[in-house]
């Protein structure tokens, strides 16, 4: 016990070994961003369609949308990741590691984004739709020209934090050996024994990337803000 404490107190930081493998971390980060980008993009489409289902007057649309959101949001994403990669092949659905993870994250983010979008949809006064109907627009034209642009503006702040959350969830791909940032960090950790340095650097990369994403979202908010 005493011995262990003494050992950790004499741990001296040495980042050199981590810097030598820094390009691996950057490659991992690039893959993390790629996974997140594709998954969130698909998730936005799923989320948008689901959100319209959630606010629909028709039970035939509303019920399945609600079921999807309930099931996915109440299952830990790690469970979903392991299920898609290990259980689905048993059911005949065989995907590569990366495809399996992207599909899982897309379905997972779809459920979260659906709730974000739904919040924006119900905040739009019904008069907006009625004004669109009154000039002869179809429901679809009203959605694309009025409802979605207004909804996106109102959800941008929460959309930003959801996207950051989803980006960080890419670290779970390490569980199925997708070589993203966390996986690479663990590998470097094992190879160099520089535990603290490796995880400090990996954390810094996550923080820097998330801060950048947050700044981009704030810029988008400013750009899309309606003058008043």
């Amino acid at each position: 016990m005493f011995h262990e404490t003494a050992a950790s107190m004499t741990y001296s930081l040495n980042f050199a070994a981590v810097w030598r493998s820094f390009d691996l971390l950057l490659e991992g980060l690039a893959l993390s961003l790629g996974l997140a980008f594709v998954a969130i993009l698909i998730g936005c489409v799923i989320g948008l369609v689901t959100a319209f289902g959630l606010v629909s007057g028709r039970a035939l649309l509303r019920k399945p949308a609600g079921l999807y959101v309930t099931v996915i949001r109440n299952t830990p994403i790690l469970v979903l990741v392991l299920f898609s990669y290990f259980a689905l092949p048993e059911l005949g659905v065989r995907l590569g590691k990366i495809e399996s993870f992207v599909a899982t994250l897309a379905i997972y983010s779809g459920a979260y984004l659906a709730e974000v979008f739904r919040g924006g949809l119900i905040a739009i006064p019904p008069g907006q739709r009625e004004a669109g109907l009154a000039i002869g627009l179809t429901e679809m034209q009203i959605r694309t020209s009025i409802i979605i642009p207004l909804m996106l503006r109102s959800v941008l702040p929460s959309l930003g934090s959801t996207m950051i959350s989803l980006f960080k969830d890419t670290s779970l791909a390490a569980a199925i050996a997708v070589p993203e940032l966390t996986f690479e960090a663990r590998k470097i950790n094992v190879e160099t024994f520089r535990v603290i340095e490796t995880w400090i650097v990996a954390s810094c990369l996550y923080v820097a990337t998330c801060s950048l994403l947050a700044a981009l979202m704030r810029a988008a908010e400013r750009r899309l803000a309606v003058p008043r």
Partner: protein, 255 residues
């Protein structure tokens, strides 16, 4: 010659509550009809049935002879396809109590949206018309302003321009001054008066009795889901025939 608007035995229910209990009304091209009555009498609901913002369960509404919203085939009454209803809605223009301008679009873009999406005009053609109508309501200089940068009265004038630019056969005004500060009411009423002078056919739901008196060729008094009385504004306001109208006029401000 067919009437511009022909409403026959219009019935409308919300669940079990009947709000329109058989309304008949016909209107000729160029008429300006004000609809007055206490709140809950069904005047706004009637207006909203004409452009199918409300469904109705019985009766027919026809504009220029074409039946709005529903068709009857083999004794069964069916809602028309949505695309057809959207096309029919463009026969009328509507201005709302709450203006309902699209807040993320400039005044000009608000007017242009229907022209581009529904009338399939090019953006240039639409802009010419948008400028013409914004000029007409006195707001050409505000064409690049967003609704949030305009006063209530200005917003309502843009909303009227947006409706009129679509060249509707009939304009529906739904208590367009009720949400405005008193000092902004007049600028909106002047715009409507100008349209009346141009011969625009208009149905105006209003609480502005003086305005109804001055601008209307006919006044309809709605009472508990039916037309209580209708006629020439001078006779209606000065010599009401029914007890209900006399009472209603007594409690409304006439200024």
């Amino acid at each position: 010659m067919t009437n511009l608007l022909e409403i026959r035995d219009l019935h409308k229910r919300y669940g079990t509550v009947e709000v329109l209990k058989g309304v008949d009304c016909s209107m000729r091209q160029g008429e300006v009809i004000s609809i007055i009555g206490s709140s809950g009498s069904g005047k706004t609901t009637m207006l909203r049935c004409i452009n199918m913002l409300e469904e109705f369960q019985g009766g027919t509404i026809a504009i220029d002879g074409q039946e709005i919203g529903y068709e009857t085939a083999g004794g069964a009454r069916r809602r028309k396809p949505e695309r057809e209803i959207a096309r029919q809605r463009a026969l009328t223009g509507m201005a709302f109590q709450q203006f309902n301008l699209f807040p993320h679009m400039t005044a000009a873009a608000n007017v242009m949206l229907g022209l581009v999406k529904v009338k399939k005009m090019s953006r240039d053609e639409a802009m010419v018309l948008a400028e013409k109508w914004l000029d007409r309501v006195g707001l050409l200089s505000r064409k690049d302003h967003y609704p949030g940068q305009l006063s209530g009265g200005q917003q309502q004038r843009v909303a009227i321009a947006r409706a009129i630019a679509m060249n509707p056969k009939l304009m529906l005004f739904d208590e367009v001054t009720s949400a405005l500060d008193p000092e902004l009411v007049n600028e909106v009423l002047q715009v409507i008066k100008g349209l009346a002078e141009d011969g625009m056919s208009m149905l105006i739901v209003t609480h502005e009795m003086r305005f109804a008196y001055e601008v209307s060729s006919r006044v309809i008094f709605m009472n508990q889901g039916r037309i209580g009385e209708e006629g020439d504004p001078r006779e209606m306001f000065l010599k009401p025939k029914t007890e209900r109208l006399a009472e209603f006029l007594k409690t409304s401000t006439f200024n």
